[in-house]
């Protein structure tokens, strides 16, 4: 069993503050963490490895050199190997370009680590919140995909995933190789161990660049390969008060609501 987990280093959004004058995020002093959903993906892989100790977990991240800190955290928790893909030419990539670069990188990492049976991702990153990169990797690679996974189990040549849906849980089997994205399960990811942490501190993490990816088409990468353009970022205005309608009966509440909407000439 050969597993790849894609992770992103993100600012800890619980610590983020907004500059009240410039209306932008204050990034200074905000700690970087492994995207929590990617942590759940890593834990799902680790649980498969608990049952099959011969399984291998490789982690891959795209980002600047400092993203190696996030990869080292993954090594301290459960990963066996880590790769960073980083190049100036990749700067400004939107989700489509990012997923393309990652899918091209996966082909290269497979030359070194063997073909992956599964590719696990978090359902989304807590900074961008797009939930697009995982599914797009599956499309680029032409693999089946299961999103919003809670748990995954290997059964012969299929991966069986418990998928969170509004009404409850679906169990979906996908033929491997497959891509699965994970959401927050009922359990917490495991803690790193001292032994793994010390080994991670000493691990050499290779950086792959555009030059290492012979089949990549750079017109699909970076700013110029990105059809999405961010025009502006702003802090939404805080909503003020509002009116609470809580009459004695539901009928009275409905009447009051009707009256209010009518008075405001909305209906």
């Amino acid at each position: 069993m050969n597993m790849l987990v894609c992770v992103k280093q993100v600012p800890d959004t619980t610590e983020i503050k907004i500059d009240p004058v410039k209306n932008t995020l204050i990034r200074e002093g905000v700690p970087s963490i492994v995207n929590p959903f990617d942590g759940y993906a890593l834990e799902a892989a680790a649980r498969i490895k608990d049952k099959d100790p011969s399984a291998k977990i490789v982690v891959l991240s795209m980002g600047p050199e400092q993203a190696k800190a996030a990869l080292k955290e993954c090594l301290a928790i459960a990963a066996d190997k880590a790769y960073l893909v980083s190049d100036r030419a990749f700067g400004g990539s939107d989700t489509l370009a990012t997923s393309y670069i990652i899918s091209e990188t996966i082909k290269k990492v497979e030359e070194l680590e063997g073909k992956f049976d599964v590719i696990f991702c978090g359902k989304q990153a807590i900074d961008g919140d797009t939930a697009q990169v995982g599914p797009e990797i599956a499309e680029h690679l032409n693999y089946p995909q299961v999103t919003y996974g809670l748990e995954a189990e290997v059964d012969g040549d299929v991966i069986k995933v418990k998928k969170e849906v509004e009404e409850g849980v679906e169990v979906i089997a996908a033929k491997m190789p497959a891509v699965v994205t994970f959401t927050k399960p009922a359990w917490d990811p495991r803690y790193p161990t001292i032994k793994r942490k010390m080994a991670a501190n000493r691990a050499e993490i290779p950086t792959l660049t555009a030059a290492d990816l012979p089949t990549i088409d750079l017109t699909h990468a970076g700013l110029k390969g990105s059809p999405t353009k961010v025009k502006k970022t702003f802090v939404p205005q805080k909503k003020t008060g509002g009116v609470k309608i809580k009459e004695e009966t539901a009928e009275d509440s409905a009447k009051k609501l009707f009256q209010l909407l009518s008075d405001a000439s909305i209906i």
């Binding site: 495991r190 803690y191 161990t193 001292i194 010390m198 501190n201």
Partner: protein, 380 residues
């Protein structure tokens, strides 16, 4: 001179901090209230490698520095003093004498399981009539040829209800006084051994503190720890190291009290001001922090000396004396700053005060520390 942990050491403490915030702090009040031993925390710490931080990897430990271990005791105590002493009694008082005085066979059999945290350890020296006067041991060990027979009892034994292995002291030659005491490794299932009543305590209430009873307890010949009749030295050198761990526990309790008081005084408003704006609050907290930092330097110096195999008995005594008295003083003053709310069990301040008190008593009272220090000074 360097006052920083190495990056690796700091990483271990950061890892532990994360763990404590999620797993240790949330249950600290509950285990105090219900006097419940946090057994699950022992197993989780073992999983991480925190139960044998400073022991070699070949014996199941994490192979890190002694200074790092002391940092671990301090960090744990910031979140829960009970959890800190669970680790330090296990590591300082049971793993250490086996690592230091044990035969290769004893280390293979016991230290590997203890340092990995699979087993929990304890230490039995104190008896009803032998507290500070530890030489007054009534527990006896008789040589029966191919085994020892132990009779007697021990009290106030930390971790007793959950420990798998105990390092126990008994008289092997009553006529020789302290020169007739020997140390033994006792497993919880040895015939004739049982753990007695659980003590109801003022603080560290989750800690399992019990009596040990030996009734014709059969101990295999090879479980003598160290040389025959040299047990008093085993006990005293073990306690020298234990004191650094207790000093670190005191540091953690005191720092937690200060940190929580700073937070509280910045929120609490009286006379139209946050009480942190009053100079009394500011000066009190400044004094307390200076005192705790002074204690921290004494404790770290003792730990560094032990790590460097320099004489440290007096340094450990100074550190423990100062840190434990600082913890009692600081926690009492913090509670005073918080006032009525601090006296309620809704807040942790009263628990800090109760937990701090024991650090002045166990592993050598403050008076014993003064004896050790003045003895080292040659004041006779």
């Amino acid at each position: 001179m360097n006052f920083h942990f190495t990056p690796d050491e700091q990483d271990v403490l950061d890892m532990l901090h994360d763990f404590c915030v999620k797993e240790v702090a949330p249950i600290a009040a509950e285990i105090d209230e219900t006097e419940r031993f946090p057994e699950e925390t022992w197993h989780k710490l073992a999983e991480m490698g925190m139960m044998g931080v400073a022991y070699p990897e070949e014996y199941g430990g994490a192979g890190l520095s002694y200074v790092n271990y002391i940092g671990v005791c301090e960090e744990l105590a910031k979140h829960c003093a009970t959890t800190s002493v669970m680790v330090s009694a296990h590591s300082s008082l049971c793993c250490w004498p086996i690592a230091e005085y044990g035969t290769e066979e004893q280390k293979q059999k016991y230290l590997t399981k203890l340092a990995s945290g699979e087993w929990l350890g304890a230490f039995g020296l104190t008896e009803p009539g032998a507290g500070t006067d530890a030489a007054m041991q009534k527990t006896v060990a008789e040589d029966k040829g191919d085994h020892w027979v132990l009779n007697g009892s021990k009290i106030f034994i930390t971790n007793a209800g959950f420990a798998n292995v105990f390092v126990v002291f008994a008289m092997t030659d009553k006529s020789l006084g302290t020169k007739g005491i020997s140390a033994f490794i006792v497993e919880k299932d040895f015939p004739g051994f049982k753990v007695g009543a659980h003590e109801k305590k003022m603080g560290i209430r989750g800690s399992s503190t019990c009596e040990l009873v030996f009734e014709d307890c059969i101990v295999p010949k090879e479980n003598l720890l160290g040389e025959l009749n040299k047990g008093f030295k085993v006990a005293m050198t073990t306690l020298d190291g234990g004191r650094i761990g207790i000093g670190a526990q005191a540091l953690g309790i005191a720092q937690a009290a200060i940190d929580d008081t700073v937070k509280y005084t910045k929120e609490r408003v009286q006379f139209g001001k946050r009480i942190s704006q009053f100079q009394n609050t500011q000066f009190q907290l400044a004094d307390m922090q200076a005192k705790v930092d002074a204690a921290r330097l004494l404790i770290y110096r003792a730990a560094q000396a032990k790590q460097d195999h320099e004489p440290y008995s007096h340094l450990a005594a100074m550190g423990k004396l100062y840190a434990s008295e600082a913890a009692s003083d600081v926690t009492r003053r913090c509670l005073q700053l918080v006032g009525g709310y601090g006296y309620t069990r809704e807040y942790p301040f009263e628990r800090y005060m109760r937990d701090a008190k024991i650090t002045e008593i166990y592993e050598g009272t403050s008076e014993v520390q003064r004896m050790v220090i003045s003895g080292w000074m040659g004041v006779k």
